[in-house]
């Protein structure tokens, strides 16, 4: 009898757990807290999620401004990449999303993105921002709608995302000049390889290091700018899919002579052992061990990255300077040499994403109060760099000073203590930041390329970031790009590794232009939308 009741109890318990699990799925979240104040849920993509935003003074200030309770949820970059599509398909959108969705998502799932234009009067700070930065306004205005708000990282971040660095200490030690052409660079790399510039008696120097060969951030294919073919490797736009503009006409890198030249050049370097032969197959961690090294002995001569300190660490960063954009050869005219045009994306389109609002959220009024507070001057600074007064001090007259010891304890920027580049807000041009080392460093890195980048015509040489195909065309572009890149990226990798581009180039161009791969179709699509947005 006793045993029977035990069994019965066990089965009831099992059923009960099952039922509660299912019931939990259907639970509605509360929309007001115990004091009757509205709750606003914010989901943010951060790269450091173990210092929660919930506990910061910034959050308390926002709550005071909106008279509501803010609930933060944080998700890491990697996790978000996996969850994003599924969450969108399931219709799970946070009240406010920070750095989660792009304009393409907003077009595809338009009913889940509130049009913010009618609400601008409730958000005077945002209204002022869009008026002060017409470029940012243009970027997010889709016809008459604004489905996403950009955030402005301030003029300190109006920089190219990609810079090419060279070890100046090594150059000086070997008595070499700063190279200005591809050939000169090759000679310098040769000297780096053979003359032991780091002085440890071992031939362990990596003359030139690369991460990968795509059309993306920090790719050596940025060397195409040496021939006037402009890249804009940031923000997920046309350039990262392989398209650029030549005097108003959309073309593809895939069939450009510039690509052929760069690939031949890189193969030449690899064949001579100036680029490690395993860069395309190795584990990513090996790259860092060669650039940041052990913090004492520099191992890498030349590489591509964000700022010299971000690329080589604080200890070795001093040794490196930005290499001004190279000419292809001595006969290349100055006006043809350009550089990566990604400063708009770096300033207000981090990864092409921004701040979005869910139209089905319960407490709409509170949401707009929160957003307006975020775009105010002080809270913008606090969102990006850290709470005032805990981490950043307000010196008055638009000047703010970051407490280095607190802000940079773990990382060379403020990602641990604030939202950093994933924030929603507006760092005004008249705001002066003291100790913003990340901006100072990347601006310093950027100076050497500014002359070349200023030669780029933001409309005639690249597809501007505000050009956006509609959902159907985006899908076609994506499908075709998958097919093209599967074939072409492999060819490029093969040529860099094993050579043979001269023999195979014509056959490759023919194959990549075949209608089944869809390169021409994609160029037509981009041309159509480019014309629509720029004329």
């Amino acid at each position: 009898m006793a045993r029977r009741s035990v069994r019965l109890l066990a089965s009831i318990a099992a059923v009960a757990t099952m039922v509660t699990t299912f019931a939990a799925c259907g639970n509605k979240q509360a929309t007001t807290d115990e004091n009757g104040k509205p709750i606003v849920n914010i989901l943010v993509r951060r790269n450091v999620t173990d210092h929660p935003m919930q506990d910061t003074q910034y959050t308390k200030d926002l709550e005071a401004a909106c008279d509501c309770t803010i609930k933060w949820q944080e998700v890491s970059d990697n996790a978000w990449g996996q969850q994003k599509s599924a969450k969108m398909a399931a219709g799970e959108f946070p009240d406010i999303g920070l750095s989660l969705f792009s304009m393409v998502d907003a077009a595809k799932y338009s009913t889940y993105f509130e049009d913010l234009k009618p609400h601008l009067d409730k958000m005077p700070n945002v209204k002022k921002f869009l008026k002060a930065q017409p470029g940012a306004a243009k970027y997010v205005t889709d016809g008459t709608k604004i489905a996403m708000l950009p955030s402005d990282r301030g003029k300190g971040y109006e920089v190219s995302g990609t810079h090419m660095f060279i070890n100046k200490t090594w150059l000086d030690k070997l008595g070499l000049q700063m190279p200005t052409t591809w050939d000169e660079l090759e000679n310098v790399l040769d000297a780096f390889k053979t003359q032991d510039p780091n002085g440890n008696g071992k031939a362990d120097e990596v003359p030139m290091n690369i991460r990968s060969l795509g059309f993306g951030l920090w790719s050596p294919l940025a060397l195409m700018n040496s021939e006037g073919v402009v890249t804009s490797f940031m923000g997920g736009g046309a350039s990262e899919q392989g398209y650029y503009v030549d005097n108003g006409k959309v073309k593809s890198y895939y069939t450009s002579d510039a690509l052929k030249d760069v690939v031949s050049y890189l193969h030449g370097l690899m064949a001579k052992g100036l680029i490690p032969k395993d860069v395309l197959t190795r584990d990513a961690s090996q790259y860092t061990s060669q650039t940041v090294s052990d913090g004492k002995t520099a191992l890498t001569g030349v590489s591509f990255g964000w700022s010299n300190y971000a690329e080589y660490g604080n200890a070795l960063g001093d040794q490196y300077v930005t290499l001004p954009p190279l000419k292809k050869d001595a006969s290349t005219p100055d006006f043809q040499v350009k550089w990566d045009y990604s400063q708009d994306a770096c300033r207000w389109a981090y990864s092409g994403s921004g701040l979005t609002v869910n139209p089905n959220a319960a407490n709409q009024d509170a949401i707009y109060k929160v957003i307006d507070a975020m775009y105010g001057e002080k809270l913008s600074v606090a969102g990006f760099f850290g709470s005032i007064p805990d981490i950043v001090s307000d010196d008055g007259d638009h000047q703010y000073t970051i407490d280095k010891a607190k802000a940079y304890a773990e990382y060379p920027d403020t990602r641990a203590v604030a939202l950093q580049d994933r924030f929603g807000g507006w760092i005004r041009d008249d705001v002066k930041m003291v100790n913003d080392t990340n901006a100072d460093q990347v601006t310093a890195s950027d100076l050497a390329i500014r002359e070349a980048r200023n030669r780029v015509d933001g409309v005639k040489d690249v597809v501007p970031i505000y050009v956006r195909p509609d959902t159907e065309d985006s899908n076609t572009l994506q499908n075709n790009n998958t097919a093209i890149s599967n074939y072409a990226n492999n060819q490029i990798a093969k040529w860099v590794q094993k050579g043979g581009i001269d023999k195979e180039w014509d056959a490759y161009v023919k194959k990549v232009s075949e209608p089944t791969l869809g390169l021409d179709a994609n160029i037509k699509i981009w041309q159509k939308w480019y014309d629509k947005y720029t004329k």
């Binding site: 990449g81 996996q82 994003k84 599509s85 599924a86 969108m88 398909a89 219709g91 595809k108 799932y109 009913t111 889940y112 990968s212 060969l213 795509g214 032969k277 395993d278 395309l280 197959t281 190795r282 584990d283 899908n475 994506q478 499908n479 998958t482 097919a483 599967n486 074939y487 990226n489 492999n490 490029i492 990798a493 093969k494 590794q497 094993k498 075949e514 089944t516 791969l517």
Partner: protein
């Protein structure tokens, strides 16, 4: 059940009621399993219609416009279709065949070991790698095959085999066999342990040597097990394990490593084109199903063993 000739044939409901009265304990026993299979295998099939509809996030999974075979045709006309199919079949067939043969050989060999201690030791050592996670395995491959310094890479010139389109299939199935051979041989060892020892004695009296014992006693003994396992493996002939091949991909070996699973992932999860990736997944399942049925029919005819 045969009804008595003089009684009227009972109706369907009566027969069900009778059946339940007799066997209700068995039904209760299997109810959780039936519920589990039903919920997780049959209910989701409702979503298969997504392959025939244009996915519209505002209308839910089943609300989109009906477009028939549009997404299937899109896949068949995709320039990558041929490449993806050959890669999938090449990699999975190599893995299937080698992963089938080697455990049998290992089991037969281990069975020959006299000492119980050594037998147990060998068995443990060979099935250990089964518990290493795929991520670690692929990292190990990367490190082992590093040109110049890797314990294997040093013999293959200055380029890693991980970047070779011709070698990557071999790298895949050899590492796969190495990892799972011990584990998969356990079931054969169990079958071998069940062989009646009098059979060995009789064969020995008839003058059979060691090889002949294997040929005429061991192999026939494990044959039914082999057939069942082969049929079950055939059911997943197009299922190259996603995680491993995805981790092994790089820009150099891509033409040989893009398989249905990785392509579906890129189209569906990354690009968010659910209808298209559902269509590809459904096509994959259909092919697997056909393989399973065929293998089962062949096995039934040839060796009289089959799963249904």
């Amino acid at each position: 059940m045969e009804a008595a000739p003089d009684r009227k044939k009972p109706g369907l409901l009566d027969r069900i009621a009778d059946h339940l009265r007799r066997y209700w304990q068995l039904w209760i026993l299997s109810a959780p399993a039936l519920f589990f299979v039903g919920l997780f295998s049959y209910v989701p099939m409702w979503g298969i219609q997504l392959a025939f509809r244009e996915f519209d996030p505002t209308k839910g999974l089943t609300g989109g416009k009906f477009v028939g075979f549009k997404y299937f045709l899109e896949f068949f006309h995709n320039p990558l279709f041929g490449e993806i199919m050959t890669n999938t079949i090449r990699i999975s067939l190599w893995t299937l065949v080698m992963g089938f043969i080697f455990p049998i050989i290992l089991a037969l060999l281990i069975n020959q070991i006299g000492s119980k201690k050594i037998k147990g030791f060998v068995q443990t050592i060979t099935y250990m790698p089964h518990f290493i996670s795929v991520v670690v395995i692929v990292s190990m491959l990367n490190i082992f095959l590093t040109p110049g310094t890797g314990i294997l890479g040093r013999f293959f010139g200055d380029e890693s085999l991980m970047g070779s389109t011709s070698a990557i299939t071999a790298v895949y199935w050899i590492s796969e066999v190495w990892q799972h051979v011990g584990w998969n041989s356990i079931i054969y060892l169990a079958a071998l342990a069940g062989v009646n020892t009098s059979l060995y004695e009789a064969a020995k009296i008839d003058g059979a040597g060691r090889l002949q014992l294997i040929r005429y006693v061991d192999i026939p003994a494990i044959m039914p097990t082999c057939a069942i396992l082969l049929i079950m493996n055939m059911g997943s002939v197009l299922n190259v394990g996603f995680d491993k091949i995805y981790l092994m991909q790089n820009s150099l070996n891509m033409p040989a490593t893009e398989v249905i699973a990785t392509y579906t992932y890129k189209i569906g999860i990354i690009n968010g084109q659910y209808s298209y990736s559902t269509a590809i997944g459904l096509f994959n399942t259909l092919v697997n199903f056909i393989f399973l049925i065929t293998a089962n029919a062949i096995a039934k005819r040839v060796s009289d063993t089959s799963i249904f």
